[in-house]
Symmetry: C2
Subunit: 166 residues, 2 copies
């Protein structure tokens, strides 16, 4: 069975190798925002004959083709998610790294208007909220993508240290 992303690849005339088929399937089945490391882990579980260089090359290619979108949630690693029709934004839980998606049509109009006022056509935009859960009782372990390396984890903790924006 052909995965959704694989179908898109074929539509754009990409050569479908075994590795690509596996990566496409992993991406199709992901409901989170995995980084390359995590994609590589999931892909090699299905087929060990995949190198991390291929994963890097594939996500880059799919991003160029508009099939994937690259995200940066802090922590130094790029994350990927399939391009969606509706726009959505992200709220990142600074304690767990979990990412929550939300929509806000009004926002988009507003930003379009702001860009226009400054004399620009909007090419893309980035809106990310970093927050801490209200009842900060139980803080479960990380579930989103791979656990960051010690240095990167420190970097992220530095990054959103609980100061409120003024």
């Amino acid at each position: 069975m052909e995965s959704r992303i694989e179908r898109l690849c074929v539509q754009r005339g990409l050569k479908m190798t075994g590795q690509r088929r596996v990566i496409a399937r992993v991406l199709s089945e992901a409901s989170d925002h995995p980084d390359v490391e995590e994609l590589y882990r999931r892909a090699t579980e299905l087929d060990a004959r995949i190198s991390i260089a291929t994963v890097y090359r594939t996500v880059r290619l799919l991003e160029e083709k508009g099939i994937l979108e690259r995200r940066d949630f802090g922590g130094g690693r790029a994350r990927y998610e399939p391009s969606e029709h509706g726009h959505h934004f992200h709220l990142i839980d600074v304690d767990t790294g979990r990412v929550i998606e939300f929509e806000d049509a009004e926002h988009e109009r507003l930003m379009q208007a702001i860009a226009e006022r400054l004399g620009f056509d909007l090419v893309s935009l980035r809106l990310e909220l970093f927050g801490r859960r209200r009842d900060a009782a139980a803080v479960p372990a990380e579930t989103e993508a791979a656990k960051p390396s010690p240095a990167r984890r420190a970097a992220r903790e530095r990054e959103h240290s609980g100061r409120m924006p003024r």
Copy 2:
């Protein structure tokens, strides 16, 4: 004469070395969003006895103290600017890399409300617009911070390829 940032450093009880004084001054005089490489360049112009490791350590320290804020405008390098009282956001010209600041108080309230609705306290937020100048006649050279390395420049071009957000 003591620069604004130096004064803040002293207030927080930081030991003021010659290197720190120079870096503080460079930061105080910057009206853009330099990356570490660029800070290093400006600092060594004033005093050659400064290593890039010290610049990295200093911006990190000042960020922890709340004196500086780190920004990520794509292109893989962290940029820094002094913490301001009023919040402002950024519009990045995808052709030149130039950064334009703008304010929008309503936005901030709106985002606060969104986070609340999802059960979170807002810790920080990131709002960046990437746009292309309306009359794309003359496209002047880069003026913002250091010119990116070839690989990084390619990365940025890949990143905001002119597709409109849907």
